[in-house]
Subunit: 397 residues, 2 copies
Amino acid sequence: MYHDYTPADEIAKRLQALRAAVAAQKWDAALIVQDVDLFYFSGTMQNALLFCPPTGNAIMMVKKYQERAQRESAVEHVIPFSSWTELPTLITKHHGAMPKIIGVELDVLPTKDYLRLQRIFNDVTIADSAPAIQQIRRIKSAYEIDLMKKAGEIGKMVYAEVPQVLREGMTEIELAGIMVAEAMRHGHQNYLRMRAFNSYAFSWHVLSGPAGGELSFIDAPMGGIGLSPSFPVGASQKKIALHEPILIDFGICYQGYQIDETRMFCLRNVPREFKAAYEAACRIEAAITAGARPGASCRKLYETGWETARALGYEESFMGPPGYKTRFIGHGIGLEIGELPFIAEGHDYPLEQGMTFAVEPKMVFPGKGAVGIENTFAVTKDGVEKLTPADEQLIEV
Amino acid sequence: MYHDYTPADEIAKRLQALRAAVAAQKWDAALIVQDVDLFYFSGTMQNALLFCPPTGNAIMMVKKYQERAQRESAVEHVIPFSSWTELPTLITKHHGAMPKIIGVELDVLPTKDYLRLQRIFNDVTIADSAPAIQQIRRIKSAYEIDLMKKAGEIGKMVYAEVPQVLREGMTEIELAGIMVAEAMRHGHQNYLRMRAFNSYAFSWHVLSGPAGGELSFIDAPMGGIGLSPSFPVGASQKKIALHEPILIDFGICYQGYQIDETRMFCLRNVPREFKAAYEAACRIEAAITAGARPGASCRKLYETGWETARALGYEESFMGPPGYKTRFIGHGIGLEIGELPFIAEGHDYPLEQGMTFAVEPKMVFPGKGAVGIENTFAVTKDGVEKLTPADEQLIEV
């Protein structure tokens, strides 16, 4: 056995939450169409659809590969299907009646498939289930947090490798590749997931000196040069030089669960301004996490971060240069990047026990570099627990 | 300068083809919304939309990061914008009138964004531009094929590393990681692109012995164990043993352009049945490529592959076990996997000069392993040219 299966009691609890959401929305069913949601609610990521009414058994319809879906999933009612056109027949046969209103994840379903589903379902109303699913998935179980801790342990080993291999003149992408190889050896899946059109998550943000000051399309304080205009973010063919701040934002994914983490390195001694900025970033993180506990407002934690940055004199560089600042300092993370909660402007809801999120105070100095720290936390009964134990020293090699 | 910019004459030709398609479809404009299509038609992958009427200048509206989009792109008319709600105002101002029919890539646009666009555009008809764009992108220029050749050169170096590092007891994922690191060092972007909902492309299909016989959701002859049910394909924590056939299907992406390639390895001597199957796979590839030239029917090349497989006695294992065979032997490749042409059932159109495609005859033996070869080819004036020069010996280490 090379990995875990999601335990049956986890799946049972998640499906119960989905049923409750379907009932609360007054839908007749939810149809789970996206692979990550399918994995969350069923334990498998085979090619399948999950039909979930407000009461009774959920029905998983598997296109390929049925034997594996059954082995991996605790969903009891599993049937084969070969085409979406069979859906009305299968639903009528196994559920009893066609739903009048059905919830589907419209934030990710391609339009072409939506229009096809409309034709097949004829006069069924298709509602957007994404907000309800986002709410269910915002609270992580102990099982989920444990997988994120294992990802954090891998991160610790990967960052520990950096001082061993970092040397003058190596390219950012070469260092990134060595880190990727080390992470994969420990079980990192080398494919991060982000729920956003035209964006993607990846581990190898290795940004040295001026590369850290390069902005790009990505909704992050810094972008990086990247390998080409077709991947204009992260590590590049730029050679790493002495005395440059080297920001490494390296996410890890273990058995589907992700953590986000940033550490700083430098060849020889780091110039004083970057060291001071790094200390400020750590203080901003500390100010946010000191207030982070169940009931704390995410908006207020965001404001705390900004107040601390201003008090320390980093208003201009904090979270990006003027005009290009991100509207968040932290973001939820789990199976996907961009889950709830957001430590952000306008996110006026409380933290809750079991939420998991990354905090990433960063300063960007165009033409010079980027500096910052990032850790992933789980909200506990009365505070937060750090899931990312890698050494937090700014390491001078 | 760490990479190329797409030359202005390339962009001019591509935009001319898009204008012609808009005119042929009798649309008033195309609105390019997807990042890969945007890169193809503009040269940048910043956060932007490209509005292209049938005549006159295309207009690129950039959300972030304008300065970089302008540096990277040869599109002349570039304006800033901050929200989709501004589109009617911007289009009216810069184009003169709102279109009545507009083509948008509905195969990839999320439904939520489609519904939003419908509200913003009010009584504009939104047509699916994906088929027209697929047709434009099917023929690669010399510039594009040259980038694919560079990807092929990286692949050659990566496969040459395998006999140097392969040893008994290492895990599939460890070997995969070493190959990823070597590829990245040479400029591989470690993020492949596939135009398909709920699917993804990745390089590290390292499948040893029985792992090669494991099926999964993926539309490929073999799946692999993968790292967990949340990534149930490719390399796993399984240890590589002596005398197992090791199939390595490792795609490379250089400056956005991808090649697909499969080679075979074995620790010590490979059992005779796998060696024979590999020789058969090579003969099937040769039979297909011998007939591949402008004008050749893709369906007939597919049938040639199957006829050769049957004649060699591999009907049962070819392209997957019975009941789970793929309906293709080859697929187009370029900026994305799954471009035209497909060497497949029902694909009754001719090859054309400038098409690029991978051919991947593979045999799957459940419980024992997978065997096969894959190369990427460009269609020339009178045949095909191989873009993947890695050694084709089944290498016994």
